[in-house]
Symmetry: C2
Subunit: 345 residues, 2 copies
């Protein structure tokens, strides 16, 4: 990459996060160091289990090391409770390695709430960022867009949405290579008077913000690629993100139902399935490799519990890009520009 | 239908609503009276235009009559302004026919906001209903579910959600023939402590309501059929409904992209397309024939601007069912039972 740092980057990888941990994480780590130069990985978690998996592979031993953490936060643990009761969790220990600059980024496919809370606690916020946010990338008719917030902030104030948008623009600008990313407010209608109290007030602020705001878009336009950055509160974003994830599975079931009791149809759909899979590839979280938590003073990427080795590799590559492009330094500089819109709320 | 009224039913049909009005509405009306017994239709709107269309068909002239209305509310008109400035709109006049008992129900594929506002204004609310609501039916893995609210109420109080659920249960019970419909709250997690201020408070009230409440479901579970009635505020519901509508079109585009530059692939996808269409049929609003506005003291069904003749016919059949099953009388009776949960909010 031109104009970016060429140093070796070190990733702190929570090896206990995914549903199939540490198998998936170890596979992803090995695949990455075998393919990518200038990349070291610290696998954090149960060292016995991790070592056992590592033995299955051949790789440059200097590039992967194991850092033991004795506890694991489960997917259904309450984040705040778990962080208190499990001080030696792989999430906490992994983030501490990043905080202490032993690693340049942290990655986990574990409990989202716990990763968010621990990231905020361990890394702190970038100065002047009110609320860190998580964004979901997805393919559109014309490229890639990212939706903020998808679950970090439930009840939002209009200024939060402005911050999400600003951080989103920086992310889309550098990670998707889009010159001047367009921002849209997710809403129930195009007109500025449409929506709930939050969206109506946010619209007015966006208009005055100097950001590249194109107005409201409706649910039906999300996938059309009219804006690279789409903002809404974390409740709406989370519902929409999870709904989208379920679509390929639902289609698969519908195809299965369709074939019931007919061998001919079964054969036919079997033949179609390869094509369908290729077409639906864009909806696949494997490709996107986790959602970035923006606004914390560090790099923290949250993967899906069902992450595969490929998804883990893509998360590592995303963290590398964010580090080398110094995304957080850019956020730190530009968040001040938007501070003038914070006065009343 | 057993146990229901056998009288002739009369539908007031806004002939000026859909994008292709009055062509679509006239076609739908003729198709309906030619197929369904005991059904009369009043076509409301520009009588010259309607008569011209009617001339194309053969049908029992006693079953369709035209009622002139000189004005049309456009899709992009502001509802409140349009209702003031256009007193002779087909929406207003059509609803007035229902109010005056010349018709048993009103149907329109026009401006949703205007239909909601005019319905409330003309028909009034059922006693003790705080907020009328619109619900979207959709197919699930196991049957049919309905989502409330999909756009009538933006910023909601917890008790509104209780009312939506109660009206939804009555609708699902009688229209889908489900014995004891299950209610779920759309949320970002399963636990009762998850969500925004609205969903957390609503959860507590639902638990105490005596309704068949199964708890929270996430976006990924909406299509799984775990609940027949799913409730959320009208902002979330509207975004989700419109997003869902866009999925078949997006898939179509993805298939098109996939075939670019390859005659073989084009042939292949062309062959697949028939199957895909059958599989996606359940996502089609034609099949569901409009969303019911529940809680107003009358029957008002709102269709999609892109309604086809078939969709119009399905809306008429839905209105007929709601009338014959006396859905509003049941709502009137049962809404009182739930009044005890209104005390504080």
């Amino acid at each position: 990459m031109e104009g970016t740092s060429k140093d070796i980057i070190t990733i702190s990888l929570d090896a206990m996060g995914s549903d199939d941990a540490p198998v998936t994480e170890v596979a992803g780590a090995v695949e990455t160091v075998n393919e990518i130069r200038d990349m070291n990985i610290i696998l954090v978690g149960d060292s016995a289990g991790i070592d056992k998996e590592l033995k299955k592979y051949s790789y440059d031993k200097k590039k992967i090391r194991v850092h033991h953490a004795s506890e694991v936060i489960g997917m259904h643990d309450s984040p705040t409770e778990a962080l208190k009761k499990k001080p030696d969790s792989s999430i906490r220990v992994g983030l501490e390695l990043h905080k202490q600059k032993e690693a340049d980024a942290f990655i986990s496919s574990g409990n989202t709430g716990a990763i968010m809370a621990a990231s905020l606690l361990t890394l702190g916020r970038i100065a002047n960022v009110t609320r860190p946010t998580i964004g979901q990338e997805f393919p559109t008719d014309t490229g890639t867009s990212i939706l903020f917030d998808v679950g970090a902030n439930m009840d939002c104030k209009p200024v939060y949405l402005l911050e999400f948008a600003l951080m989103g623009v920086i992310y889309a600008n550098h990670l998707f290579n889009v010159e001047n990313p367009r921002i849209a407010l997710l809403n129930v209608g195009e007109e500025k008077t449409k929506g709930n109290a939050l969206s109506i007030e946010a619209y007015e602020r966006f208009e005055k913000s100097g950001l590249n705001f194109i107005g409201n878009i409706e649910g039906s336009e999300v996938l059309k690629g009219e804006a690279e950055v789409i903002v809404c509160d974390g409740f709406v974003g989370n519902v929409l993100m999870k709904f989208t994830e379920s679509v390929p599975g639902v289609l698969k079931n519908k195809f299965k139902d369709y074939t019931k009791g007919s061998i001919f149809k079964k054969l036919w759909v079997g033949m179609m399935y390869g094509t369908l899979k290729k077409v639906l590839k864009g909806f696949d979280y494997e490709e996107f490799g986790g959602v970035p938590l923006l606004g914390v003073d560090g790099i923290s990427i949250i993967g899906h519990g069902k992450s595969t080795a490929k998804a883990v590799k893509n998360m590592i590559l995303k963290a590398e890009k964010m580090h080398r492009l110094k995304i957080n330094d850019i956020i730190r500089d530009r968040i001040i520009d938007i501070k003038q819109f914070y006065s009343t709320n």
